[in-house]
Symmetry: C2
Subunit: 571 residues, 2 copies
């Protein structure tokens, strides 16, 4: 495996041996290491000194169930700290088939008179790198863009691409990958890496793994044996059945019962319309509607959980795929919308623009509080999204996410940490996830360490400090492996399978705590980047109103002590 | 002298003895001390925990020439650090006549159903505090507001008031005071303290000093003797004559000759239209036009410099008062506008909205770079300002100042430090002022330590570190005294006059270096507030492009070393 380094200004590719200190890392941890080594932490995120890193996890390449995730990394234009966002789909798999340990995109494509184009596709194959003008797809949504590029490059390629939002360098823009059915539905959504790619004037990176092969395995039999254990444990896990049937929308009823379902710009944790936006209701609806509707769908080849779905309308035609819990929480209850069809339409627009549904739901919630839409008015929500597509001033305000929208519109209740919006777990009711929001170097992000399933009193701030710490370490570890959280359930049944897999794949002798070792190293690297970028404990704070305004129905505030928060990473 | 403390929510006034550690401070230093003692540095600037402090300088009250300035302080919604902005006019004088060492405004006025009003006037007199509904002046510009309030409260009062921008809580909103002719032309402009006042739902604070008297003088004869020296030295100073004749616009030709006149969004330091926006040209024009035009005008009673002016149009009717150099640089050359009448009209609009001309000029420059106006198109500039008055999304973007405008509009060349726009001294050509921009706890601000008049090679970064340090210390000292920089020229002829005046006024025995002692204490307090608010060396940095893009005509970059910058305050 090599490091592939592309200088966008010079249009050159170098394949480099992996430096020793990078070798044991993958995914999120490798991205953090590269950024710390190569990107000035105080640089302008949308300027030439920022780099965009693509790093498949350590276990990517062999279709282990739910372990083929790809990490995108760079300095975030949203948090202005380090950023990693990962996704399923086929990009990671193609990269490892081509022998890439990581891809580093340096500088920015030229757009001056000497350049032949304003937008570019970077095409990578075993033959090397090719830059091709992309002006014909500039301005197109991700769905049309993907369709055209698949026609141009053949439907066997993988790709990472941006929508109009990334082109506009909006801070809530993500980067999309194709799922196994070539739909650009797998978004590395958080923190604006799509804007970083847009600032580099790259519309898409295409990966053609023709002639490639799976990465080598040191001990094939041991690998197979471990894989078998992982598969069995994952299949047996009670959560797997829930996610197979309902997908992530299973969380709607659970969070609502905990009083932690964000409702009307995070003003309540209980939504009167929870029933009609629940996973149970959605499953019934999709089974009844049929057609393209699918309550169960795999995003990666080989996944046995298949937590994804295709949401079809009354006519059975697909509206969006997938419709996830966090999207339902942010574009649904958070906007006072109790109708899944409306939420699905909002979701499709946000996704086609290439935006993060979480930050956009929070942004629209802030817009509603500013009087720009009535809660519950989905048609107005669609109009506001159309403003983004048109690139109007209001569209730009909203497309930068909730923090910028709150600041510009003069709203005080803005559910963000480090400039990034909270997900669909209210921190005043689910305080462990709240602790993760506050302390994660990534900004508010449930995937950095969600505690909603932990057996803990979610209202007890003190008890949740250790819960959040453990979850953050484990999740950072899984993000190094390329494992999705649901594979994590399987791993945690028998954690020895992790060192067994790493030994079988690489021949490494690693201890039983390798997941935690990788997780801690990753968090330490990320915190060091942020420290150099100017972050302090003052950035590890919940918004002021969440400490003072009680949240119904528990009428609780976020009351983790500052010393507990500041000591969370003292290991 | 007492501390007057008003709780806006409870509508109560308390007069408190001055705590010992506050007693030796005034103006900017006192404001810093109060904020550090009473405001949580991580609080939301527009929330209830921020306080607005009004503190006259130590020498205010006796019409010493140019020494009656008033400091406004609070946590800035623009820099998110400590903020002080001071102004001339009559507010400081009325406060000291009423026996106020400082006024502290706590919490926010109620606007719920129990409140009788959405906006309030706070009326202060020796009889105490009165809250009166201000809904009749809500939405009015500062000129109409001042006129109405003068009619209501009598034309002997002083007042501090905000315009529509402060009501909208725009981050570039300032607080205006009346000049000696009752025009609300003296703005504490920088850093958004008008938004802090707006968030408190205060349209104006009216000071009626009826029955008050000048503050006591310990040694009257010594005071008179020192005052005489100060007056003579100020009058004799060669700069005084320049400022009497041309006012601050004298700087246009000087900065242009230095290659440091911001032109077309800080892309050049030389403006081909400098001649027609110069102080010399302006003086000729005003003398020729007559009528209400005045090339020389005092902003405070008793000022012998009279650097202000009234800019009249072709018909001799006043367009705006005053028209200052920094406004000409930012709303003129920085927008490619070479016509003083156009600049004056832009200035009036900005002032009537209650906005900072510096940040608005920089904001419009960024808008021009984003393609929203052509450089040189003043009519389009006026349209953009009209958007602010209408409160449109674009208006809100621009009204928050250059940093927010740059971020939302996706512009990379944004001339700000700590979120605050640079003034009309290009840091790549006048590197001492640039060093002040970078290191001042106030964000980019020429009044924190301008070095343009220093005898130093302005292009030599190393040589300018000490120049900036000295200027920052002295300016912080003057801001404690209530002295304007032009009185500073007079003081520096014979610095002993400062301890003499403080001894005569208060009976204090202070050393010959009292100006520097006060200055260093002030800067230390401010840096400590910022440190607790989360600021680090990473915030003491010039925008990336100013280190890499050479500025014509010298083709110089800002090249002060990071270690020099980081060591500047090691005294």
């Amino acid at each position: 495996m090599d490091i592939w380094r592309v200088n966008l200004r010079e249009q050159t590719l170098q394949r480099e041996a992996v430096p020793e200190k990078w070798d044991h890392l993958g995914g999120r941890g490798l991205s953090a290491r590269i950024l710390l080594d190569e990107v000035p932490p105080t640089c302008e995120p949308l300027g030439p000194y920022n780099r965009l890193v693509l790093a498949p996890g350590l276990l990517v390449g062999h279709m282990l169930t739910s372990c083929d995730r790809i990490s995108f990394g760079g300095k975030s234009p949203m948090t202005r700290g380090i950023k990693e966002a990962n996704a399923g789909g086929s990009t990671g798999l193609h990269m490892t088939n081509m022998g890439m340990k990581a891809l580093i995109l340096e500088d920015q494509c030229r757009t001056d008179a000497k350049a032949r184009s304003g937008w570019w596709v970077l095409h990578l194959s075993l033959a090397g790198a090719r830059f091709e003008p992309a002006d014909d797809v500039a301005g197109l949504g991700v769905h049309d863009t993907a369709a055209r590029l698949l026609k141009r490059y053949g439907d066997k390629v993988a790709m990472a691409l941006i929508g109009p939002a990334g082109e506009m360098r909006l801070a809530a823009a993500g980067i999309q990958s194709l799922d196994k059915d070539r739909v650009p539905s797998r978004i590395a959504a958080r923190g604006g890496l799509g804007a970083v790619m847009g600032a580099k004037r790259l519309k898409a990176v295409v990966f053609d793994d023709a002639g490639g092969k799976k990465p080598p395995i040191a001990h094939r039999e041991a690998f197979k044996a471990a894989q078998k254990v992982l598969t069995a444990n994952t299949l047996d896990h009670p959560q797997t059945k829930t996610y197979q049937e309902y997908g992530t929308p299973a969380m709607v009823q659970m969070c609502n019962a905990l009083g932690g379902l964000p409702t009307r710009n995070f003003s309540s944790g209980k939504f009167e319309g929870a029933e009609t936006i629940s996973g149970e209701h959605m499953r019934d609806l999709l089974l009844q509607r049929g057609g393209e509707s699918e309550p169960t769908h795999a995003c990666m080849a080989g996944c046995i959980i298949q937590c994804s779905n295709t949401y079809g309308g009354e006519d059975g035609k697909a509206i969006v795929s997938p419709l996830e819990y966090e999207t339902i929480g942010l574009l649904g209850s958070n906007l006072g919308i109790a109708d899944l069809d409306t939420i699905a339409r909002l979701n499709w627009e946000v996704s086609d623009l290439g935006l993060d549904t979480i930050d956009m739901g929070a942004s629209l919630g802030v817009a509603a509080e500013a009087g720009l839409m009535a809660f519950g008015d989905g048609a107005r929500g669609l109009q506001l999204l159309a403003e983004i597509r048109q690139g109007t001033p209001l569209g730009r305000i909203l497309g930068h996410g909730a923090a910028v929208a709150g600041r510009v519109l003069g709203v005080q209740r803005v559910p963000v940490v480090k400039g990034q919006a909270m997900s669909a777990y209210e921190p005043r009711a689910i305080k462990g996830t709240g602790t993760t929001y506050v302390t994660s170097p990534q900004g508010a992000d449930h995937t950095a360490g969600n505690t909603v399933r932990a057996k803990v009193d979610h209202l007890d701030a003190k008890a949740n400090i250790a819960t959040s710490r453990g979850a953050q370490i484990n999740m950072a570890g899984f993000d190094c492996l390329g494992a999705c959280i649901f594979a994590g359930f399987g791993f945690m049944v028998k954690p020895e399978v992790i060192p067994e897999l790493l030994h079988a794949r690489y021949g490494w002798q690693v201890g039983p705590d390798i997941l935690q070792v990788l997780g801690k190293e990753t968090l330490t690297l990320e915190r060091e980047f942020n420290r150099r970028a100017g972050f302090t404990a003052a950035d590890d704070r919940i918004p002021e109103y969440m400490r003072t305004e009680p949240l119904p129905p528990h009428n609780s505030v976020f009351d983790a002590s500052e010393s507990d928060l500041d000591g969370l990473f003292n290991w």
